[in-house]
Structures are given as C-alpha cells and as structure tokens.
Symmetry: C2
Subunit: 314 residues, 2 copies
C-alpha cells in the first residue's frame, strides 16, 4: 500500500486516513481504478456515486441524462488507466414517487453509454431513498495499465478536448438560466475517452489521468504520483465555447477528458496522428520538470495558483 502519491486536499486526507487504518485488509494503488489480479485476469474496477443535491439538482437533467452521466463518470475511470470496459453494475436509491418509466429511462442512459464503449449492464440493486442516489461500478480488463505515476521529467503534457463547459452549465443553472446547449451537453452527455486511451497506451503514453475533479487538481495528482512538477501554460488550455475565461477552464470539474504524458521525442508525431485518427482536439498544455506540484505559467511567467480550486467533495 503506497499512500504518498495521493495529492492534497481534504478528500484525499480523508481517504488516506481510511487506508492507513485498514493496513493489510486493503490493497490500494492510488489510481483512478483499483487494478487487481483475479486468477489469470488483471482487472480495473472502480465505483462512482452521484447524489441528488450534491452532484446535481432536481430538474437539471432528464432521467436518461442522469443515467448516461453517472455511467460515463465511472467509465471515464477505466479510460484513465487504459482498461477495456466489460461490464457495469448500477445501484439506485429511488423515491417511492419515481414512476417506473423514469427508472427505465435512467437505465437506458447507463446502458447506452456502456454500449458506446463496448460494455454491458451486468446487474445492480434498487432500494428506496429520499433523494436519488446512483452508484455505478465498472469493471474492465487490463492488458497494460497506464498509471498516474509513470511520467518522467521532460515528458510533454497533452489533453483531449476542451474545458469549462460543465462549470459554465452549472453556473447558468445556479443563476436560474438554461445553459447554452453546447455547455449543457458537456455536463449532461460526457463521453468516456476509452478508444483514445487505448490508442495512446499503444503509442507510448507514460502517464494518464482523467480530469473529473478539474484540470488543475488532477494535474496535481499526476505530479504527486509521478514525483515530478507539471508546468502548465495557461494560454494553451483549450477553452470550450461559451467558457468566458481561463479560470473557468481550470476550475471546472466533471471534465471527463484525459491528461496524458508523452515522451518528448515522439509527442509531436503521436499528437498529429491522434488528430487524424479521432478528428478531435488534442492539445499540448505543458511539460514535466524535476520538482513537485503544478506550476501555472502565462507566456512563460509563473502565475499564483491554488490547488484547492477544483471540485471539493468535502
């Protein structure tokens, strides 16, 4: 059990304390998924809980979108370690008032996002609850995992996609406005980057993480796990349309995109092929140096930054 690679913040302090107490009754790698050996198979397995009132408010999303989003969040953890998704289990806490159509629509959302990355729904549990609770467990098989801890000094850092959409949508809902469609889509309909992750694994990615807690905090996790400093150029960060400023792009959680470290010798070549292969954004946002933490720079000059800016679970 190696707890040092976990980054900072109250959620990680809490998790660290739990794992310390469990000692040899737990096996903990510190990645997006647990990576475990069961007989002859290496599995990646992860669980992701969403609670109404914490992760979303009533009325923001349709039932189908609730299911899609919860499934995508969990499947994104498999993408983060380059696992191939196999199956999904869904525990639902539902109020008595929820009609059966709602439950079916929600499960259709989960099943569709699972199918989009080659997985099926294996089972689940349905119980009564005052507030909607959706807990999705995902299982994937692992040929060769890409961990947070593999980045070396001198690697180049790239991200898939663009940032700020989910936070832009949440801010609109919180101001009682309907978000712009494109921003809303980013919150309601994220796509786990499974195909991209497997492709990047096969082309030498040294480290990977998904950006579900936000670009800056999760970059901090990768830096801590790899024992390097991540230097991020703020002007390079791709902003999602309708995202007003770079702070929003850096602050926005629920971004189910990948941060990837590639060796500097091959990075440019891999990136060019990535854009050909997937017709998607793939952006160089920085590099690694010796040191620790994240150094945010603007046109080469350091900016002050707080790593607590991402989504705070507690």
């Amino acid at each position: 059990m190696n707890l040092s690679p976990l980054g900072t913040g109250p959620e990680f302090d809490k998790i660290r304390r739990i794992w310390q107490a469990l000692c040899d009754r737990a096996a903990f790698g510190g990645d997006d998924c647990a990576i475990v050996q069961v007989g002859k198979e290496t599995l990646a397995i992860s669980t992701d809980m969403a609670v109404e009132g914490t992760h979303f408010q009533p009325g923001w999303l349709t039932q189908y979108e609730l299911g899609w989003r919860a499934g995508a969040a969990a499947l994104s953890d498999l993408a983060a370690v380059a696992a191939t998704p196999r199956g999904v289990l869904v525990s639902l806490g539902l109020s008595r008032e929820w009609p059966d159509e709602f439950v079916t629509e929600l499960m259709e959302g989960v099943a569709d996002v699972a199918q989009s990355v080659g997985a099926v729904v294996w089972g689940g549990d349905v119980v009564r609850s005052d507030r909607l609770v959706i807990d999705v467990t995902v299982v994937g098989s692992v040929e060769r995992a890409v961990l947070r801890s593999g980045a070396a000094v001198g690697d180049i850092l790239w991200v898939t996609g663009s940032f700020g959409g989910p936070l832009t949508a949440i801010r609109a809902w919180e101001s009682r406005r309907e978000p712009e469609r494109a921003a809303r889509e980013r919150f309601a309909h994220p796509e786990p980057r499974v195909a991209q992750a497997l492709w990047l694994r096969d082309r030498g990615a040294t480290a990977m993480i998904d950006l579900s807690d936000g670009l800056l905090p999760d970059t901090g996790q990768l830096a801590a796990a790899s024992g390097v400093q991540c230097v991020i150029n703020q002007e390079s960060i791709p902003k999602h349309p309708f995202t007003e400023d770079h702070a929003t792009a850096l602050l926005s959680g629920e971004e189910f995109e990948l941060l990837v470290a590639l060796p500097h010798e091959t990075a440019a070549d891999v990136a060019a092929k990535f854009e050909q292969e997937f017709a998607r954004e793939f952006t160089r946002i920085g590099h690694t140096e010796s040191g620790s933490g994240v150094s945010l720079q603007l046109n080469g000059a350091p900016l002050e930054l707080s790593l607590s800016m991402g989504y705070r679970h507690f």
Copy 2:
C-alpha cells in the same frame, strides 16, 4: 437474457421491466450475483446498497456494525452462488457532520468482514449526502457456480442457521426497546456463509440462494428459477432464540443464511458431515415436487401463505 426465473413481487416487476427495456445492452442471469466471463476468468459480482431510514435507523448500530453489516450483506450474495470472495469496493454517502473516526470505524467493519472470508478492500468512493448511504460491490471468482435454477424434483431442502433474529431485533428497536443481545447480533453482525457454500458445492448441492429477503420469498425465487414446487414444513423451521413464533421466522428478512437443495440419495449423509465440519445448525425444512411456488405445510397439512410477506423494497 432469461427473465422468467424471477419470482413475484413489485421489486421484481420493476427489475423485470428494466431488463426488458435494455435488451441486448444487458446480460442478466437472475441469480444473487451476475456471473460473467472476463477473459479467462469467471467472476461473480454483485452490488448491495443500504440507505439510512430505509434499511436501518440512526442509533440502531455502531459505525463498525454498519460497515460489517453492509459488507456481509453483499458478500452473502457471493456465498449464495458458491463464489470465492476476492475484493470489495465501498461507496459512501456521508454527511459533512460525520467525523473522520466514524468513517474509519465503518470501513474497519467492512474490511473485517471482507477479511473473514478472504477478501480485501480494493477501493471506493466518498461523497456528500444528507443521509448515510453505503453501497458495497463484491467480486469473487467462480470455479463452478451453484445457481437458483438447479433444483430437481425430489431434492431435499436444507437451511443453515436459524431464523427470526433480525426481525425480532427490528421490532424491539421500533418499540423503542433495546433488543435481546442474541437477536441484535443477528442483525448487526451477520456472517456470510462462504465456507459452507463452497463445501456444499463440492458435495453435490444442486441449487442455492441466500435468504436475505426472508425464508419464504427467497424459497419462492428458488422454486421459480428451478421450475419446481418447494414444500416447506413449518414445524421444521429452526427459530432463533427469542423468536416468538414461526411467522416471525418466515417473515424475517436480512437473514444471511443459505437455502440449499441436495439430491435425496446423499442429503442425509451430507447433512451429518456438515454438522461435524462446521459445528453449526443444518436443518432439513422440506423438499421439492413437480409444480410451482411454495407450499407451506404444518404436520403434513397445507397452510395458507402469502409470498409478499418478506421484506418489500417498494
């Protein structure tokens, strides 16, 4: 996907409707666990959610017991199919007010029950929630599963343990009394019957199920899955101490014991050896006949029975 083996009741109607809608996006066996092939390994996997206010009330259990009980309930599903437990994931919805010691104690309970059956904690998720939510996912490896569907006409039905303790404890709490210690233990500290299940598998058990929804409803599930009638002799049902009547023993959910079908030729011999091996109760409670459903009898005469008597999830 075969939905017919599911028994009756509103929970199962709900589940049936969900699975019908998902079609080929789901793989559903209808057992306590999903039994799935991942590469070269056959896995049993199950998830079990407990919500404060639904499954327990504040003040009934210590944090350690909450964790133990939630873990045991999930691990009992692995026992039910004769899987060997490997790992556990725990999603926790916690209020901000819960001190870290509570979380650690709860996780110690989960870790201890996992360790008691040879499994370790692989990971989990911690999120904010008004009410305590504990969702435990368990993964086991399967050499040869014992399903609900394997009972043949003429098999003899046996149960491990004795019944009524959990309901007796709940009734005491609901009357604002502290339950008798032995009854409270049955609710707070159930033991997944993993060793017994593997032993019974190796001695010819044809069908098995755990009795988490109550002896009668789960016997109905086994009857439906196997396409037989289960004849149960009420006078044979072992009552837990302080359990006043047979109805309580039949009605009580949260019984993490096994119902096992054994071929009539070998049943008596296996049962005698079981008691030697485990120094635990193993009781013949009936047999299977051609037909369907459950026939409850008292000294050979049929009793009226309602299959909706067990725990109703909705």
